[in-house]
């Protein structure tokens, strides 16, 4: 990346965090204001808050083994295409449970995402932009957290659940929107560090010391105040509210019958955790499912991986619908790229960005539609080619935002979505 910042936003002085928060006192420290100490019921949230769930099939899922099968062609591989709940729409037989929900899905089969590189591809898919010298665009998670943040939720607005690794804060994915909207990572779904009160601190003692701290702060604030001191004191209030909801992060609290439908494997647990978080008012959750980079044995791997994906994904759509959350939650299944129609000598498929598919469901999405198509053996887009920029506009529109607006870091306009693209109207309800 060449850091040439067209609109002059170096991380250094762009979003001076303070400037970004505005000079208004009472700048928020972590996330939204206002106060619900208890998890809000889904019904209440529905009225006020749109949410986004991205399921990221890391490594590059094969469009031919999922949303755009080409059976009985030189590129199609061994699997059949099966009927779905939408007459005339067929998907791969590796997704039998998902097929029952096709009437909820909009399939985009004509995506050209331009890059065959894992890192660049991921950035293109999550920012809706091709890499540009000098500016790093925020990820859809940060954009969602910023533009959709509910005033009710104390929880972070931007969470990603990763297959492995530690849990931490402040990914670099919010760029000029500032750390407030950067992702909180939950490695293997583990809660953030220090979320739970230490065993040797009684809750009464915790409350007592907090009360003492607040008194001190009130006294200090009588004669000394700045946006930074306000943010600091506010951050404790926020943290306290998150701590009160800490069990949202614990999937063991879920009814075992319900939990079993998600499967007793990592991805199932992670997807269930995502549902809990969304239900508790988190604006954006991304769940990654890994091992789709199938240069070898593409077909065996897809049997295995999609076997893990299919059932919990269907369970999730059911749960969201049952809880009345589907109309307010946009669900996107994406990867950083697709896989080559050509099958290589190791029965694998390689990196491929020219013609592949993404699935969407939920908020603002017209279910049962198929956008665009590829040619007979999937080697090129035959109709309605779209880029990641079109998808980005579509996500924003689906959750009720005007995707032609600007951000103003450092008082210079930066379009929220790529102005060279537009929303895919036929996928929008």
């Amino acid at each position: 990346m060449l850091p040439c910042n067209y609109a002059c936003r170096s991380t250094g002085h762009t979003v001076s965090r303070r400037g970004f928060l505005g000079s208004a006192l009472g700048a928020t420290a972590a996330l939204g204001l206002g106060g619900f100490a208890n998890p809000v019921s889904a019904a209440e949230l529905n009225k006020s808050q749109k949410r986004v769930l991205v399921i990221f099939l890391a490594g590059g899922v094969s469009q031919l083994e999922t949303w755009d099968p080409k059976p009985n062609t030189d590129t199609g591989g061994p699997f059949k295409a099966i009927q779905t709940s939408v007459t005339g729409t067929r998907i791969s037989e590796l997704l039998p449970h998902t097929a029952k929900h096709a009437h909820r899905l909009a399939l985009v089969r004509s995506l050209n995402s331009v890059s065959d590189d894992h890192g660049i591809g991921e950035s293109i898919m999550l920012t809706g932009r091709k890499p540009e010298a000098g500016i790093n665009y925020p990820h859809i998670g940060a954009v969602s957290a910023k533009l959709l943040a509910s005033r009710e939720s104390a929880l972070p607005g931007h969470i990603q659940i990763l297959p492995k690794g530690g849990s931490g804060f402040n990914g670099g994915d919010a760029t000029f929107l500032g750390p407030k909207f950067a992702s909180v990572s939950l490695g293997d779904g583990k809660p953030p560090a220090d979320l739970f009160r230490p065993a040797n601190l009684a809750s009464s003692a915790d409350e007592e010391r907090e009360a003492f701290r607040r008194k001190l702060n009130d006294r200090f604030a009588k004669s000394r105040k700045s946006a930074a001191t306000e943010a600091y004191t506010e951050s404790y209030t926020q943290a306290e509210r998150v701590v009160k909801q800490a069990e949202v992060f614990d999937v063991e609290k879920e009814n075992p019958k319900l939990a079993d439908r998600y499967g007793r494997h990592d991805f199932g647990r992670h997807l269930l955790l995502a549902r809990r978080l969304l239900e508790a008012g988190v604006t954006y959750v991304k769940v990654s499912h890994s091992n789709y980079d199938t240069h070898h044995e593409n077909f065996d791997f897809h049997i295995e991986q999609l076997g893990e994906f299919d059932r919990p994904f269907a369970a999730l759509l059911e749960d969201l619908a049952d809880r009345g959350m589907l109309e307010s939650t946009l669900v996107v299944v994406m990867s950083e790229m697709g896989r080559t129609p050509r099958i290589n000598a190791q029965y694998g498929r390689d990196h491929w960005s020219k013609a592949w598919s993404v699935a969407m469901a939920g908020a603002g999405i017209k279910g049962g539609v198929v956008v665009g198509k590829t040619n007979a053996n999937g080697t090129a887009v035959a109709d309605r080619e779209v880029y990641s920029g079109h998808l980005f506009h579509t996500y924003l529109r689906a959750v009720g935002l005007d995707s032609t607006k600007n951000f103003y870091p450092n008082e210079r306009p930066v379009p929220v979505a790529d102005p060279k693209a537009a929303a895919i109207e036929e996928a929008l309800a």
Partner: protein, 544 residues
Amino acid sequence: MLIHARSFALVAILILPALGRAEEPLRVRIDKHITNGASDYKKRAAPLSNDEEFLRRVTLDLAGTTPTVAELNDFLADSAKDKRAKLIDKLLAGAGYARRMAWHFDVMLMERRPDAKVPRAEWELYLRTVFSANKPYDAFVRELLSTDGGDAKTRAAAKFVLDRDLEPHLVTKDIGRVFLGRNMQCAQCHDHPTVDDYHQADYYGIQAFLNRSFLFPNAQAPTAVIAERAEGDVNFMSVFDKAKKQHTTVPKMPGGKAVEEPKTEKGKEYRVAPAPNVKPVPTYSRRELLAAAITSADNSSFARNIVNRMWAMMMGRGIVHPVDWDHSKNPPSHPELLDELTREFVAHKYDLKWLVREIALTDAYQRSSEIPAGLDDAPADRYLVAVLKPLSPEQFGYALMQATGYADAERDALKKLGPKATEEMLDGKLAPRLGPFRSILGGKAGDAGENFSATLDQTLFLKYGGAVRGLLPPRAGNLADRLSKITNPDAVADELFAAVLSRRPTADEMRDVGDVLRSTKDRQATINELVWALVASAEFRFNH
């Protein structure tokens, strides 16, 4: 409300610099500029800080930590008229000064980058040596920019360049920002669209000093050194230029003269010719010119930038603010002041300690941070009231160890060594504990800590994290231990507030402490958590 004890620092008699009509000491002239910078300044400005406020502030600024209870008591008991000036001198002469400056310059120069080629321990030792010796700033920067990393004795100084992997755009951009106060990032691709003084040619003029340099044997080797070829020019074109005209430039500082490059005879380009596994040495080196060009007296941005950055360190904001945004459309808050400071700093041979001392002696620095009743509008850049400064992660971690008595306990343990025990040894024992504070409070790579944040992870870390909680329970000689041995609640409050907040408690606070202690079933646990409450207060988190 606290009662302000106005104190009158004696006018220090200075050796007058050769430049300017220096009939008055610089600190007096600084205050005149500040006074002239706002209407009715004297009427509206806050009074001077009281002794408690001043002691804590200046100890944090000049030694990187909070005062001990003994230092607080001594200072309050001292009735000398010039006790503030004496304290400033004592701090500047102490070991804490190099510690504090090493932290500050580490972040300024390296911006929380993870170690790449130069290990942190060597780098910190080098910085401490620089500031212990009060090495003139220009000489210091010449070391940073001329060392090639080949000599183990001077390798640490090459960290600025080495740990940026000599990545041409990154090094160019950061030289502009860190040493010249000019963020010329945009000028990489085109003249700045809104800032008339940042030109693409300036950007590439800086880059031309380094465009022939590369890491030898390769950029990945942890032991890599900087080598140079004898040829190569920088070429650039503006992304706005439809004609795509190519430009080139020789090495040149922004606004300075172009370097006249010698014609090298064919066949004599190298002193050591390039060959496999051989580090080439060109006859004419562009890179060797960089340190001299940047620190040259003709390059006025160099001194102006550091003066502005030191002012920001002491005063909470730059005269040019943000500190890397020096251009005509973002004028300094007090232009004459910045010019005068820059001139004097050069006349004083780039003496950072002298500059810090002059600023610390001013009324502007010593003003109270309490907003006077009736002052509704106090723009930060007018210095009517002292600006609140968040503690850096290092200051916070260190002050926390001081406040909770962890440092006292370690100091006592060291005393067994007799006269061999030094403050540096104590630092060596405490330093490893700064790690978590740096990683949680310090922001990501590239973050120079110029903006305050209070994110959820930071707050959870302070609330429940082991790095903080581990310091609370009693341990021989620490604060919780001392407090548990005091029976009178008022005396507990006194010791508690002195140790953590470096002041006496108010009557209300005494009563609150008394109430909590009288009603508790577990006195020790309550004491531990009282310590936490003070540590977690905004008053402790900020230098006020």
